[in-house]
């Protein structure tokens, strides 16, 4: 009963989404105010229906209704309650429902948040969002319905993939998708502005908080996925340049560019067409990400679904969305003109370089991700592209970006002179260089060529970001949230860069064959293997090793790495033991039994690795703070009075 109710609710939701799209786009276009006024009720109805569908599927998962195919394939009666709920997005069909639900949540948020905006404009935004919802609901109902019954019902389910039975991965998809889907809002604002034909900077100001919020969610989502890969996959790596990781990283890079170009459009009315294109591009890459992950075209740990018809459907959706948006852009492009000029060395030029470098980075990642597919389609052989390609090409655009960032945040709008900031900036550079040399050669006493470079750039960004807020605080000037948020995000980036440098430069790792009681030394640490014993969990059994860790002869920890075998799918997972000590992560993973009473064990010492995710988290917090700035809300209220002239921006206000 419940699954049918959910199915029916989703069909109703699709009808309401088409009404929302129709009224939202046709209402303002024909000037019928009744149609325009009908958009918000359609949004509310669509949300209620999608939420009902979601609730029905969750309830069926909780109730172990294995007559539903999707539940039978992804859950099991022995699965703990928490994972029975999160199993909803453990595979393709449920993930799509989650996508639709989150889009519906964003749409409601926009309907509430955009109530201050001109009615015609907000109706158009909601109309475009309705079109996107409609596309995804059609896709779900036509190719990937999670509510379909299995006849006859199965006695028990095939279980959730054991590597997905993990708290971080349970919440990773919703947060990542919230980010992905959030770029639909920026996209809808851009489309609405083009439909409206009013392409001055007002739309950019209205979009900024939404884009920044989506970006913050995406940052946390990517960081969670990376953290999960680190401790769950048993390799001890935090980034593999796996196609699925790239799929989420490309929208992030373009989204970062979009945030910065929106700043220039909002403040100075510059880069208007570029900003529109970036908004289209960010959402297109989110769709492409869904396509790459869910169509099964890629070799990847995440690609559980392998159904080409779905891929073709998403590809068609992609063509309609990108093609439609670009068509709209071509139609409206004659209206675009940037009046303002700027000098080389002004803040605008730094934002321009930021955009160029971020888009180049995204393009190189895209090329590396798609190359195997293209080569395969053209019968050029089966090839794979990995870290040896991605690392150098990515650094090539990132290193100049980091250096320009440290300088660019002090540049003034329009004028190209740094003025009295030059001396402070040089001072911070010297301090950063000294700190880098001390870190690389003092603390770790070795390093690669790029180690001091990375450490210096990271420290410089942090120090340089802090000059302005400290100055303002000492002079008792106001610190608006958008400015504080920008500062925090840039400090987070600095933390990220330093820790990434440390991990890449100073990681020690060894795979060792060990018998009970044997010792091995890795760096300053010594490990004693005390054998294994059997363990049993709620839906698995396995073995657990005992490893005693000492540092310079001082006992520091006893860790228990596990090897689990899950009963239903008979698959083995590695549960690495990770201890944080002196800022370093001590990582111990149990391999396999080698005979003669020996086990293979993997040891890694990764300095500052936790700060990689902390840095990403700080960046996201900065984004959240900036998105909550009152300026955007009051500005929206002011701008809704139809007048073209906006208050002149002050030079000190933040760009992020």
């Amino acid at each position: 009963m419940l699954p049918e109710l959910g199915h029916f609710a989703l069909i109703l939701a699709m009808l309401l989404a088409s009404l929302q799209a129709f009224f939202g786009i046709a209402g303002p276009a024909t000037g019928r105010s009744r149609w325009t006024a009908a958009v918000v009720p359609a949004v509310a109805g669509q949300f209620v229906m999608v939420a009902t569908a979601m609730a029905c599927l969750i309830a069926s998962f909780v109730a172990n209704d294995f007559s539903v195919s999707y539940i039978a394939e992804n859950s099991n009666s022995a699965l703990p309650l928490f994972y029975r709920v999160t199993a909803l997005w453990g595979a393709h069909e449920g993930s799509l429902l989650l996508w639709i639900f989150l889009l519906s949540c964003w749409t409601v948020a926009v309907a509430i948040g955009a109530a201050r905006l001109p009615l015609r404009f907000s109706a158009r935004v909601l109309g475009v969002l309705g079109l996107v919802s409609l596309g995804f609901m059609l896709f779900t109902l036509a190719t990937s319905n999670p509510f379909l019954r299995h006849d006859p019902p199965l006695p028990d389910g095939r279980d959730l993939n054991p590597i997905l039975q993990d708290p971080a991965l349970a919440i990773h998809p919703p947060i990542l998708y919230t980010g992905y889907v959030g770029f639909a809002v920026a996209f809808a604002f851009a489309c609405a502005a083009m439909l409206e034909g009013n392409l001055d900077q007002t739309w950019a100001r209205w979009t900024r908080p939404w884009t920044t919020a989506a970006w913050a969610f995406l940052s946390i989502g990517i960081a969670l996925g990376s953290w999960w890969a680190y401790y769950e996959l048993g390799w001890g790596g935090y980034w593999f340049w796996d196609p699925v990781e790239n799929a989420s990283f490309m929208p992030w890079l373009v989204g970062t560019a979009l945030i910065h170009s929106l700043a220039a459009t909002d403040k100075r009315g510059l880069f208007k067409s570029w900003t529109l294109l970036l908004a289209i591009l960010a959402f297109s890459l989110s769709l492409l990400g869904t396509f790459l992950v869910r169509s099964g075209v890629l070799v990847s740990v995440h690609s559980f679904a392998a159904d080409p018809t779905r891929g073709i459907f998403i590809l068609a959706l992609l063509v309609v969305v990108i093609g439609g948006a670009l068509g709209l852009y071509a139609w409206r492009a004659p209206l675009l003109r940037s009046q303002a000029g700027f000098e080389l060395g002004a803040r605008e030029s730094f934002l321009l370089f930021n955009n160029i470098l971020l888009v180049i980075a995204a393009a190189t990642v895209l090329a590396g991700t798609l190359a195997p597919m293209i080569a395969d389609a053209l019968h050029l052989g089966t090839l794979s592209v990995g870290a040896p390609y991605f690392n150098p090409t990515f650094l090539l655009s990132m290193l100049p970006l980091l250096a320009l960032l440290a300088v660019g945040i002090h540049a003034n709008w329009k004028r190209g002179r740094l003025g009295d900031r030059t001396r402070t900036l040089l001072l911070t550079l010297i301090v950063a260089l000294l700190a880098a040399v001390a870190l690389v050669y003092g603390v770790y006493s070795h390093g690669k060529v790029l180690s001091p470079v990375g450490a210096a750039l990271g420290s410089w960004i942090i120090l340089s970001s802090l000059i302005d807020p400290i100055e303002r605080w000492r002079r008792k000037l106001s610190l608006p949230r958008s400015f504080l948020g920008m500062t925090i995000a840039h400090v987070g980036l600095g933390v990220f860069v330093i820790s990434l440098t440390a991990v890449e430069s100073f990681t020690l790792e060894r795979d060792v064959s060990m018998a009970r009681g044997e010792h091995v030394a890795v760096g300053n640490y010594e490990f004693r293997f005390d054998g294994v014993k059997s363990i049993e969990g709620p839906n698995y059994d396995g073995v657990e090793g005992t490893v005693v860790v000492t540092r310079h002869g001082v006992p520091t920890a006893v860790v228990y790495p596990q090897k689990r075998q899950y009963w239903v799918q008979r698959s083995v997972t590695t549960e690495a033991a990770i201890e944080m000590h002196h800022g370093s992560n001590v990582f111990v993973a149990l391999g396999e039994e080698l005979g003669a009473g020996k086990w293979s064990v993997r040891f890694q010492i990764r300095p500052l690795v936790n700060f990689i995710w902390l840095g990403a988290f700080i960046m996201a917090m900065g984004g959240a703070l900036a998105a909550s700035d009152r300026r955007y809300r009051t500005a929206a209220a002011r701008a809704s009075v139809p007048s073209g002239s906006l208050p002149a921006p002050t030079a000190g206000e933040g760009a992020g």
């Binding site: 740990v301 679904a305 392998a306 052989g381 990995g386 040896p388």
Partner: protein
């Protein structure tokens, strides 16, 4: 400089930067791409000598051997037409098993494929798509017992 000249300089600078980045990315790409070969292609001598490549196929039943207590493991990768012996020192991935698909990175040395990385990154229900495809090419899909039709179709 007039504003127009300045703008043209900026545009030219950006173009030069973008082309340098493109050229470097292309050369990094050429140097660092690894190709996939199956045992029949290896036996036919299609792999350039000394080149690093990816070998994929099934782990032959009963072929996994190691000296007790040693990290070095030897096994045979097959596409049911030809076989390639593989040696690897290190911790094998969780999904590595006899009779299952595997992909290894490394190079040929005296008739043995010396792997520095062994991947079994696929879901247990599936085979690595390139392996499924290679087996299909050699035999037709009916011989691929361990892969469900969906996986084989999804890769093609």
């Amino acid at each position: 400089m007039t504003p127009r000249q300045r703008r043209m300089t900026l545009v030219a600078g950006i173009l030069v930067g973008v082309s340098i980045a493109g050229a470097l990315a292309l050369s990094a790409f050429r140097k660092n791409v690894t190709f996939f070969f199956d045992p029949t292609q290896v036996a036919a001598g299609q792999v350039p000598a000394g080149e690093r490549f990816r070998l994929g196929g099934m782990v032959t039943q009963g072929s996994v051997q190691r000296a007790p207590g040693s990290l070095e493991v030897r096994f045979v990768v097959t596409d049911f037409k030809n076989e390639v012996p593989v040696s690897y020192t290190g911790v094998l991935p969780d999904l590595f098993r006899e009779g299952q698909g595997v992909v290894a990175h490394g190079r040929m040395l005296n008739g043995t494929f010396v792997a520095d990385e062994v991947l079994a990154k696929h879901d247990e229900k599936y085979m690595p798509p390139e392996v499924a495809r290679s087996l299909k090419r050699r035999h037709g899909s009916d011989q691929v017992h361990t892969a469900p039709p969906a996986a084989a179709a999804g890769g093609s």
